[in-house]
């Protein structure tokens, strides 16, 4: 027996594992109760079990039903994936700091430059230093005016060593 649809098989595994995790946790950590007197574990446990069942069906069909191109998942776009999510995380770290690791806040302005740089690297052929600086400066100035000045959102704007 071989996998006829890669996409479906992997989705089936994903659903089964997620469902099992939820159902197991619900059944062991919380009281389940009965249908008439549901405990906090009842509903998630039932849902988790249904998800396991659905996931298994999906896996089964992925092994049995022929799909045109083998339901290939295709290549992961690792670079954009890493750069976009990384830019987002880096933005968070710089904006708020990481007290856990003793990293102080660097503020919105620094965070915007960092985010733009890493995000632009998602497409390395188009990345130039000038492009980065121009785009980041426009966005930094715009964000300052819109979010800080007009909308009055409260967040650290400047690095910790510049704030009194």
């Amino acid at each position: 027996m071989s996998i006829k649809s890669q996409k479906d098989f992997v989705s089936g595994v994903m659903f089964t594992v997620t469902g099992a995790a939820f159902a197991w946790h619900a059944a062991t950590a919380y009281s389940v109760g009965t249908a008439g007197q549901m405990g906090p574990g009842y509903f998630p446990m039932v849902l988790g079990l249904v998800l396991v069942l659905l996931g298994s069906f999906i896996m089964f069909f992925a092994l049995v039903v022929e799909t045109p191109d083998g339901g290939s998942i295709g290549d992961f776009a690792w670079r954009p994936l890493f750069c976009i999510l990384g830019a987002n995380v880096l933005f968070g770290v710089l904006l708020g700091g990481l007290p856990m690791w003793g990293l102080p806040s660097m503020g919105l302005m620094v965070a915007i430059y960092a985010l733009c740089g890493l995000a632009l690297l998602a497409d390395p052929n188009r990345f130039t230093l000038r492009r980065w600086l121009v785009l980041a400066s426009i966005l930094a100035a715009g964000s300052y005016l819109v979010f800080i000045k007009s909308l009055g959102l409260t967040m650290p704007v400047w690095p910790f060593f510049l704030t009194p």
Binding site: F76, I84, L85, G92, L115, F147
Partner: protein, 503 residues
């Protein structure tokens, strides 16, 4: 006339200069973001939601309604000019709209989209105003069992419209329901599935889910595609107004689309998408007049009908939300989230407790539609300019707005980590061919469904047959079963494949 008095209340609220301004700003912002390729209304609303936090509830909802219409209109513009639908309901618009643009008739196509949306919006708003009040009465007759049944129908509706595998769509709903349960259980006060993280005690922020799955997920898959097949028709847009001939062909199609859209929009489960596909299919069946191009080759009816159906459906899909508090699709699910943030519990009581809000919102929808036509048509040139900005300049800005938006939800960086996680999940879902919209709907409905199920079964002393012995609930469940059977029928199955083939 109650209706007139109610509408007058609404105009008094929505017509204040400040609220008009919010509607206007909402429309502009919505179009601005919605016009970006690959960003649909869900992502747009999620991204712009934080902008409305500081406003009073009525103004915030008015602005959100504006954002929604703006986003839809922006999506149509992109569909016509770039052949890139931002959302499933504008997929059919690309068929004839893009062909018209290629023939140098982008102007009339855009105008037709705007005008038919406006006409449909007017009819939809009137219907909404007329039926909301009587339907709220019905809503008070609903017990917990009926609410459960209705939510199940809604979720089935979402599945029916999802493209791709039915099983996967159901699984995505369950996944969403489970994610919705994370956080403190209201009955026992117990923190569930929080992995001992205090930040999760209030549940997973729905803005983080929506933005991650729809915003980041889409950016990443867009970036991984090459932009060779993107061809923007910018130089060729001249002559905005359709000819008299165009209008003559278009009007009957607009009316047909409006009727179909209004009817289908009320159905739980994303009526707007169904409506635009159904109306296009209907137009295809209608005989061509002399001098008309066949549908699919740049016929103006192919733009007007789905756009009007889509907009009428969008309007009437507010009916189940406002009267029953149950969101029929992902966009409405976001609206529920927005209302909850402003401490409004959507449902039948909104109309009695807070009539200003209720009627103000309804009227502001009409105003939003009006704004679109008076502002966006003249500004088409500007939106087109925006489309010529290369994507690699745009996406860092989108990422930035997402990040700032999600941070300001709770002023905590925890949500930024969450959005990254859901961005990853969103990309994986796309890769695996699992549609994310049912997940979001399930996510919003999770706690509601649990609560009503608990109550229904408690009243029935644990007897599950309560769902089929109560006539209303039985009827609703039968409707859900019917929907499900319809999709499983081979004839419809192949039609559904055909309809989603452009995805």
């Amino acid at each position: 006339m109650d209706l007139l008095a109610n509408l007058a209340t609404g105009f008094a609220v929505a017509g204040t200069p400040i609220n008009l301004l919010y509607a206007l700003v909402g429309c502009l912002l919505g179009t601005l973001i919605g016009v970006l390729p690959g960003i649909g209304p869900v992502a747009t609303i999620a991204m712009l939601l934080p902008v409305t936090y500081a406003l009073p509830p009525v103004s915030a909802l008015i602005m959100l309604a504006g954002i929604y219409y703006g986003a839809q209109y922006g999506g149509s513009t992109t569909a016509i000019l770039v052949n890139l639908p931002g959302e499933s309901s504008s997929v059919v618009t690309t068929l004839d709209g893009y062909q018209m643009a290629r023939q140098g008739r982008a102007g009339p196509a855009l105008a037709a989209a705007g005008m038919s949306s406006f006409i449909a919006g007017c009819v939809g708003t009137l219907l909404l105003a007329a039926f909301a009040a009587p339907l709220t009465e019905v809503a008070f007759a609903f017990g917990p069992a009926e609410y459960c049944a209705l939510m199940v129908v809604g979720l089935i509706g979402a599945v029916v419209l999802a493209s791709g595998s039915l099983l996967k769509a159901i699984a995505m709903i369950i996944f969403g329901l489970l994610l919705g349960l994370v956080g403190t259980d209201i009955n026992s006060g117990m923190a569930r599935f929080t992995l001992d993280m205090p930040e999760l005690a209030d549940g997973i922020g729905f803005v983080a889910v929506a933005m991650g799955v729809f915003g980041y997920g889409e950016i990443i898959s867009n970036l991984s595609k090459s932009d060779i097949d993107r061809e923007v028709f910018t130089a060729k847009v001249q002559g905005l107004m359709p000819t008299r001939e165009d209008i003559r062909h278009m009007m009957p199609a607009v009316l047909r689309g409006t009727v179909l859209g209004s009817l289908l929009g009320v159905l739980p489960g994303g009526g707007a998408v169904l409506a635009s596909f159904a109306s296009y299919t209907l137009e295809k069946k209608i005989k061509l007049k002399s001098g008309e191009l066949p549908l699919g080759q740049g016929n103006i009816r192919g733009v007007a009908a789905p756009e009007s159906a889509n907009n009428a459906g969008a309007q009437t899909s507010f009916i189940p939300l406002l009267t029953l508090g149950i969101p029929p699709n992902a966009v409405m699910a976001l609206m529920v989230g927005a209302m909850t943030i402003h401490n409004i519990q959507p449902g039948p009581q909104v109309m009695t407790v807070n009539p200003e809000l209720f009627w103000g919102l309804i009227v502001s929808m009409w105003i939003g539609n009006l704004m679109l036509i008076v502002l966006n048509l003249p500004m088409i040139g500007l939106w087109i300019k925006l489309l010529t900005v290369p994507y690699h300049y745009l996406f860092p800005a989108i990422v930035l707005f997402c990040a700032i938006g999600v941070y300001t939800t709770n002023n905590s960086t925890f949500d930024i980590w969450l959005v990254a996680l859901f961005g990853l999940a969103g990309y994986v879902f796309t890769k695996l061919g699992c549609e994310p919209a049912p997940l979001l709907l399930g996510f919003i409905l999770g706690p509601m469904l649990e609560e009503y199920l608990k109550r229904a079964l408690k009243l029935a002393r644990g007897d599950w047959s309560v769902f089929i012995t109560r006539p209303l609930s039985a009827a609703l469940l039968a409707l859900g079963l019917l929907l499900l059977l319809l999709v499983l029928l081979p004839a419809i199955k192949s039609k559904r494949k055909e309809a989603f083939v452009e995805d």
